[in-house]
Amino acid sequence: MDERKDEDVAVLVQQGDVESFRVLVERYEPRIARYARRFLFQGDDVKDIVQEVFIKAYVNIKSFDSDRRFSPWLYRIAHNEFVNAGRKRQKERGNISLFDADVLFPHLMTAEEAADTGAVREELKHMLTDSLEKLDAKYREPLVLYYLEDMDYKAISDILHIPVSTVGVRLQRGKTMLKKIYPWKK
């Protein structure tokens, strides 16, 4: 198995080693496809969109700063593609506006919340997977990135281009919303 760091592989691609890009595609294609299905809820054009994400990544690879992490950079491209696809289909629930009120002002909750216990985290993952379609996109995406894609606050901030403290607020509100809409079965 290739042990090289993503960032080192990306540098090789920047230097013209096209075959190294295959390593990145193989590492990230399943994750980006999964993220796309959770974002767009349909299978037909997910493949086309995922393909477009990697083509955009290749075209713009020289804008990647190897001092930063590769995965948030790639997920940012994916996020933009999904938002554009959602707008085109006009099916996306919830709007992603230029300046949301929660990115304007500072929030007290800036530190990363205490890690959920394994059982709680698993339960939240389960609830989230079952209720994705009912969640507002504004809260759905941070929840997906945090619980299902295992991203930290900083990475989510880099993907969604929102303040780190806002990530915490959206996760908190998203969890509250999730608990309200989850169809509890007794």
Binding site: F21, V25, K47, I55, I61, S63, H161, T166
Partner: protein, 227 residues
């Protein structure tokens, strides 16, 4: 999975997907920096212009005369210029929001930073003769685009009157305004004026208050602005 990978590499091999050169992104960054500098320069110009207009109208000192003074100052602000400034700040935020130093913190911090920078820069600019020189050129129609801005000073609020004291009395004085018109100024009860005991004939003053048709002004504020 392999199907997607194959399509991606087909696009790369056939040249449908071409890697953009580093110079493309360097040029993009240069354009953003240039845009930022131009927007900041525009903001500084507009903010120093607002200060210039308020000074020209003698409105700035009105703030020292209570609620009426603040209301007068509020009404005297060149709002179209201020709205244009707000538009520039929003464009600046849109231009820079893709950079981590902007998006990782609440937007209000960025806006506050821009405000502080603009305030300091514009006060510095307003202290120079930059706006006076532009005004002089504008009066000769030598300032393209912005020349019309300088008509603001032609329309000071009607509650502002400046002139030389030509006659001094116990409860007020008479001033002669630049157009030759004279007005009798009465100190309204409680008229704040730190110089009320020091007025002399020949002093240049600015008086804040409504002028009655008979030429009497009940001043809510008086400021000495020259000997």
């Amino acid at each position: 999975m392999e199907e997607i990978e194959d399509k991606i590499f087909d696009a790369i091999k056939t040249g449908k997907a071409k890697m953009r050169p580093k110079s493309y992104f360097v040029l993009q960054a240069i354009l953003v920096v240039t845009g930022t500098v131009l927007l900041f320069a525009g903001l500084l110009y507009l903010a120093s212009f607002v200060i210039f207009v308020l000074r020209q109208n003698d409105t700035l000192s009105a703030a020292g005369f209570g609620v009426s003074g603040w209301y007068l100052l509020f009404r005297s602000l060149p709002w179209s210029v201020l709205l244009l400034s707000i538009a520039l700040v929003l464009i600046l935020a849109l231009l820079l929001r893709r950079y981590a130093f902007v998006y990782q913190r609440p937007l209000v911090y960025f806006l506050f930073g821009v405000l502080i920078f603009t305030a300091l820069g514009s006060f510095f600019l307003a202290a120079t003769s930059f706006q006076s020189i532009l005004e002089r050129y504008a009066s000769q129609n030598n300032v393209p685009l912005m020349g019309g801005f300088y008509r603001f000073e032609d329309a000071p609020p009607p509650e502002i009157h400046s002139g030389d004291i030509i006659l001094l009395g116990s409860g007020g004085f008479v001033i002669q305004e630049p157009d030759g018109e004279t007005s009798t100024v009465f100190f309204a009860p409680g008229t704040p004026s730190q110089f009320s005991d020091n007025f002399q004939t020949g002093d240049l003053v600015v008086v804040f208050g409504d002028r009655e048709p008979n030429g009497i002004i009940d001043a809510f504020g008086i400021q000495k602005i020259g000997p």
